[in-house]
């Protein structure tokens, strides 16, 4: 009944309820807007294809989705063609023109060593847009597998994995990621693996809840009677029916991946200098805020904010369409 409502809580650990069973009360009923709708229900008289087409049409009519998609598209273009779009070299210092305020020559001003802030913001999109989707994909693939196994097999697997998930989620994601990155060193692959792994635990929670709802439905009983293998049931029978919540979870996690990566960079454990990076640029220049050089930190900050908000707009619209 209340299944599916733990999903949002995990974002910041709002749900401390352990996975005791399908009826384990979500700590906060109603907290989850990521309701796991969009499953098999209602697919009886309308073909799946028609539903999908209708959902796509609704999505393209949603203003929030269009705005979000355009902003994300802009940053993707920056990430791919950054050095071609940037008016100056992003890593070409010029001591003679340091700390220049925004002007027609330098729209976003220059930083302490005379690098063009606009160019650094444009080129800085690349790293975060490489690492975040990779980490989220890894987390979604792993988390889906864990969640399917937990939800379908139940029993000891569910118990053990559930406890580990609880322990890992007893710390804010940023801190867990930070701890591991400090331990093994900040490299792109480390960031992808660490963030992907932490997210997989959160995603597993959502998938598990969605699977528990499917578990007692007739098509699974039929599959069991046909003596299908466990893997076949999990990935061929159940997976297509829980894709909705997984898609929503993917977009939500993508937003948080950017959040986490930017934060780690800001703390000095993300992408290393001199590669332009929004979080690192903020950290390196925030000391100059008191001196009034605000443009060096404000513009990268706005870039992060716009990307995260855009992804959330997309996620919210997808979710709204799936619930209808």
């Amino acid at each position: 009944m209340n299944a599916g409502e733990e999903s949002l809580g995990s974002v910041s650990g709002a749900s401390g309820i352990s996975p005791e069973g399908p009826d384990a009360p979500g700590l906060a009923p109603g907290l989850g807007t990521l309701a796991t709708a969009g499953g098999a229900g209602g697919a009886l008289d309308v073909s799946v294809g028609r539903i999908r087409r209708e959902q796509l049409r609704l999505l393209l009519h949603s203003k929030a989705f269009i705005v979000g998609a355009l902003i994300v598209l802009w940053w993707v273009v920056c990430a791919v063609f950054g050095p071609l779009l940037a008016p100056y070299g992003a890593t070409s210092p010029n001591i003679l023109s340091g700390n220049l305020a925004p002007s027609s020559a330098h729209w976003f001003g220059t930083n302490a060593i005379g690098e063009d802030v606009l160019s650094r913001v444009i080129v800085g999109a690349r790293d975060i847009l490489e690492i975040a989707p990779l980490a989220t994909l890894l987390g979604t693939a792993l988390g889906t597998t864990i969640g399917l196994a937990q939800g379908y097999l139940r029993g000891a697997v569910d118990m053990v994995v559930g406890r580990i998930v609880d322990a890992a989620l007893a710390l804010p994601t940023v801190i867990v990621a930070f701890l591991f990155v400090v331990a093994v060193g900040a490299k792109t692959i480390t960031l992808v693996v660490v963030i992907g792994f932490v997210f997989s635990l959160i995603i597993a929670r959502t998938v598990r809840t969605a699977v528990l709802q499917e578990r007692e439905l007739d098509y699974l009983a039929a599959a069991r009677l046909r003596n299908e293998s466990v893997l076949h049931v999990m990935f061929v029978e159940i997976l297509p029916n829980v894709l909705g919540p997984i898609l929503v979870e993917f977009t939500v996690r993508l937003g948080y991946a950017i959040f986490t990566i930017a934060t780690l960079s800001f703390l000095g454990f993300g992408v290393q200098l001199p590669t332009p990076d929004w979080g690192a640029d903020i950290a390196n220049n925030s000391g100059l805020l008191a001196a009034g050089y605000w443009w060096e930190t404000l513009f990268p900050a706005l870039a992060i904010a716009s990307l995260i908000i855009a992804i959330n707009l997309i996620g919210d619209s997808i979710e709204a369409v799936l619930i209808q």
């Binding site: 401390g16 804010p172 930070f178 331990a183 703390l267």
Partner: protein, 326 residues
């Protein structure tokens, strides 16, 4: 039918929940030990750098006790913590606790300021949104607060510094008041760092308050109260709010844990000497005992907050309590 056993059920649930929290705590300590003491490999080398001789590294490793078997190391770490000994800082050659607890105290002060601001504000926001369900006000509150709660604290912090400290010059740029400042001045310095935390928490608490209020508004007892002729104001105050705030209380308790995590970032932006700043400094210095103890303390605060939230919710909401009984 279940009334007779209610007391025992509650204590059973509480002890079960406490047991689970302990299991989680042990797993958490394993994760931290693994990341802090196994993954870094060779602390002596990390501290002394690449140029140090092999003998010096081995001697330091021996002195730090990291050349012992892992199980022995874990056991001495954990048993030390149980006896109140959090370890010795590599960097300062002094007990970790003498740095950790003052820093935690300062962090809690900052967290308290954030809480005092966010709780009334977000409950008010959520209730207003619910009373105007589906209208512009509702959409505005819900969308803005959710967007804000997904932006990293240091990003909103930068915008706030630029606006309030640099352009308007209303508030100081740093978080630490000069030594010996009166309490009021200290609090004034803490307002700006608290706001990024407020922005993140606002979304969650307001959403909870909104959902709770809407559920209460749709309930039979509110319809009854309205139908028997009570003015809307009285219905809202006496029947709606009292019930809608129940789940909100627990979300607030849970968010205490989050708040500690958020401090991690905010303290580093505003150069505030709390536990977050301590952990980052320890990480940069490769001071692993300090790092591990700091992260563990955050984990314990987080677990304790979740535990209190769950128990509070169970005590306050009999439906969950009875539903839980097997």
């Amino acid at each position: 039918m279940q009334h007779r056993k209610e007391g025992t059920e509650l204590s059973q649930y509480a002890s079960k929940r406490l047991g689970l929290a302990l299991v989680t705590l042990v797993l958490l300590s394993l994760i931290i030990f693994y990341a802090g003491q196994v993954l870094p490999g060779n602390p002596g080398r990390a501290i002394l750098g690449n140029l140090a001789s092999q003998q010096a590294v081995a001697a330091l490793n021996h002195k730090l006790g990291v050349d012992r078997p892992l199980l022995t190391q874990y056991w001495s770490w954990v048993s030390g913590i149980v006896r109140g000994n959090l370890g010795t800082s590599y960097q300062y050659q002094a007990p970790v606790s003498s740095f950790l607890f003052p820093a935690l105290g300062r962090s809690l002060k900052l967290a308290a300021v954030a809480f005092v601001i966010v709780v009334p504000l977000s409950i008010l926001g959520g209730v207003i949104a619910a009373l105007n369900r589906g209208r512009v006000v509702d959409r505005l509150i819900s969308t803005t607060s959710l967007s804000l709660s997904t932006v990293p604290e240091f990003v909103s912090g930068i915008v706030l510094i630029v606006v309030f400290a640099i352009v308007l010059k209303w508030l100081p740029v740093t978080a630490s008041a000069p030594d010996g400042s009166p309490l009021f001045t200290q609090l004034r310095y803490l307002i700006l760092p608290a706001i990024p935390l407020v922005l993140i928490l606002f979304g969650y608490i307001a959403r909870m308050a909104r959902t709770g209020t809407i559920e209460a508004l749709d309930s039979d007892y509110v319809r009854t109260a309205t139908l028997k002729g009570l003015p809307r104001r009285v219905v809202i105050r006496r029947h709606v709010l009292r019930n809608s705030l129940l789940p909100t209380i627990t979300v607030i308790a849970t968010q205490t844990g989050y708040l500690i995590g958020g401090l991690f970032v905010v303290e580093n932006l505003f150069v505030y000497p709390g536990i977050g700043r301590l952990i980052l400094t320890a990480a940069n210095d490769k001071d692993f005992p300090m790092l591990e103890a700091g992260v563990l303390v955050i984990g314990v605060v987080y677990l304790a907050a979740t535990l209190v939230a769950d128990l509070l919710y169970t005590v306050l909401n009999p439906r969950i309590r009875l539903g839980k009984a097997e």
